[in-house]
């Protein structure tokens, strides 16, 4: 009995130490990626290419999701606001929900599933098929050539996609609220304009999405680079990217929200 308890405790200890070591390795990897990012400045086309694969190809899922999330918000908000006779505040409800929370968080979750997993799988497979080793033997640093452009592409794409998600969501809310349910168009837009603060709401939302972009890109490139060079290794790393990104986004969202909006 004592032995079993001891084994459990030592197992937890071993796992904790392994997790901490991995976190330290990931932090050093991020440092190395930032140091090697000069290549991206010298050759911006490398980043532009990755922005296309990560960002532009994620547009459809982001725009469609944004539209439906906005439409659902419009519908739910209308039902609730009508109880208090404040349907005209629907625009404010939709815009603030999207700008502060739903836009950055849902975009980040979708981006991690669509693009983060793809980056992990790509780098992991490049490692498994010795492409990264081949690059090193050609005296080309894979962190500068492969990792850094994908990292920066993710950091750049996330805020842009968040802006598009939010814009599409507001349009979805307008479609349901104004066009379908008959809320007054003038009060929908004017109340939104009066209540949304650029610094408090728009900029804070974009800061959130930028932080999420850094987190997703870091997790995705690290998991790919650290993946065991086997089929199971790459599939496990891809799954870890999605799960770790989702949990990190939600945790960071709480921290950032408590820092940004605590006075409200």
């Amino acid at each position: 009995m004592v032995d079993k308890g001891w084994l459990t405790v030592s197992g937890i200890g071993r796992r904790s130490i392994e997790s901490l070591l991995r976190l330290g390795f990931a932090a050093r990897f991020l440092g190395l990626t930032l140091v090697q990012s000069l290549t991206c400045l010298r050759r911006p086309r490398l980043v532009v290419r990755e922005v296309y694969f990560s960002g532009v190809l994620s547009l459809v899922i982001i725009l469609v999701s944004g539209l439906f999330v906005g439409m659902v918000l419009g519908l739910q908000g209308y039902q609730t606001l009508r109880t208090y006779g404040s349907e005209s505040a629907l625009g404010v409800l939709v815009a603030l929900s999207l700008l502060r929370e739903l836009g950055p968080v849902i975009t980040a979750l979708l981006f991690a599933s669509r693009a983060g997993s793809a980056v992990t799988a790509e780098i992991g497979l490049m490692k498994a098929t010795e492409q990264l080793r081949a690059m090193e033997m050609m005296a080309v640093d894979p962190i500068a050539r492969v990792v850094a452009p994908r990292f920066w592409a993710g950091v750049i794409s996330t805020p842009l996609l968040t802006a598009m998600f939010t814009a599409m969501g507001i349009y979805g809310g307008y479609l349901v609220g104004v066009v379908l349910l008959g809320v007054d168009e003038g009060s929908f837009w004017s109340q939104m304009q009066n209540s949304v603060d650029f610094r408090e709401d728009v900029v804070n939302g974009l800061i959130k999405s930028l932080v999420f972009g850094v987190a997703i890109s870091w997790i995705a490139v690290f998991e790919g680079y650290d993946a065991p060079p086997t089929a199971e290794g790459v599939s496990g790393a891809t799954t870890r990217t999605v799960v770790t990104s989702a949990l990190t986004i939600l945790f960071l969202d709480y921290i950032l929200t408590s820092l940004m909006f605590r006075g409200l």
Binding site: T129, E130, M137, M138, A139, V140
Partner: protein, 270 residues
């Protein structure tokens, strides 16, 4: 180090953790020669190539390439040395997101400031040398195993390296591709005036093109000589390896308990 040797290795020891892979290895590769390193799977051949390329650092001993001790080089020095090397990986390791043309152009674009028209001509010349100029626009996924290996060879020699390393270049190829690759290894080495190290366990194909051969077992060189000397060697492991004998220095049966005892035919203690 003798100036006639491009690679010199002495008393090289290396291990992964507590598992020793190389145990006091000595060998040298003369300039301009095609030298093979043979041995069974897992004897440390690929590890040796990685040590020569500076991807791994030895536990002790010396690896000198072109007169420089690889382990003592910093990152810039190592990259400078690697610019004088080319390497063909076991399955080609082509960049799957780039076309055949872009794969061969990759080292030129990354490591030189050559204008694009010059890169284009050089790439076509390299592809012509391996017989695949017509396949320049194909993607790696559209190539057969033999073609992929030839493209990788064109990429490995893209910048006319002084040392070309081949990691199992004959694995998984049909007889025609096998002949093409082995012929290319010899002709490219002679045309470029390079030095080649071929890590392989394909006796028949490699013996046609070699100048000298090292046979490794358990992290050490157990036999060396010209192809003719190796084929005539009477050392037990060399004879078994080069003639493909089933039983010998490496026993057919993995060590285990006595067969009769295990089947219950012999009573214990009798």
């Amino acid at each position: 180090m003798s100036s006639d040797n491009f690679v010199e290795i002495s008393d090289l020891q290396f291990g992964y953790g507590r598992r020793a892979i190389l145990k006091g290895l000595d060998l040298h590769v003369p300039r301009g020669k095609v030298v093979s390193i043979m041995g069974g799977s897992g004897c440390g051949k690929t590890t040796l190539l990685r040590l020569i390329g500076g991807a791994l650092r030895p536990s002790s001993g010396l690896v000198r390439v072109a007169g420089e001790s690889v382990a003592d080089l910093d990152r810039d020095g190592l990259y400078r040395l690697r610019r004088r090397m080319g390497m063909l990986f076991q399955f080609g390791a082509l960049f799957t997101d780039l076309s055949v043309f872009d794969n061969v152009a990759f080292p030129m674009r990354e490591r030189t400031a050559l204008p694009e028209p010059v890169v284009r001509d050089l790439v076509l010349m390299k592809l012509h040398a391996v017989g695949l100029r017509g396949a320049a626009k194909l993607m790696p996924g559209e190539l057969s195993g033999g073609m992929a290996r030839r493209v990788a060879l064109a990429r490995a020699v893209a910048l006319d390296p002084e040392l070309i390393m081949y990691d199992e270049p004959f694995t998984g190829l049909d007889p025609i591709s096998l002949g093409v690759i082995s012929n290319l290894i010899r002709t490219l080495n002679d045309a470029l005036g390079a030095t080649s190290i071929v890590v392989t366990h394909d006796v028949r194909e490699s013996m046609k093109i070699l100048d000298y051969c090292y046979l490794m077992a358990e992290g050490q060189v157990v036999a060396q000589g010209t192809p003719a000397e190796m084929l005539a060697s009477q050392k037990p492991y060399a004879r078994q390896f080069f003639h493909g004998e089933i039983d010998g220095a490496v026993p057919f049966h993995y060590p285990g308990a006595d067969y009769g005892t295990e089947l219950g035919l012999v009573q214990r203690g009798r």
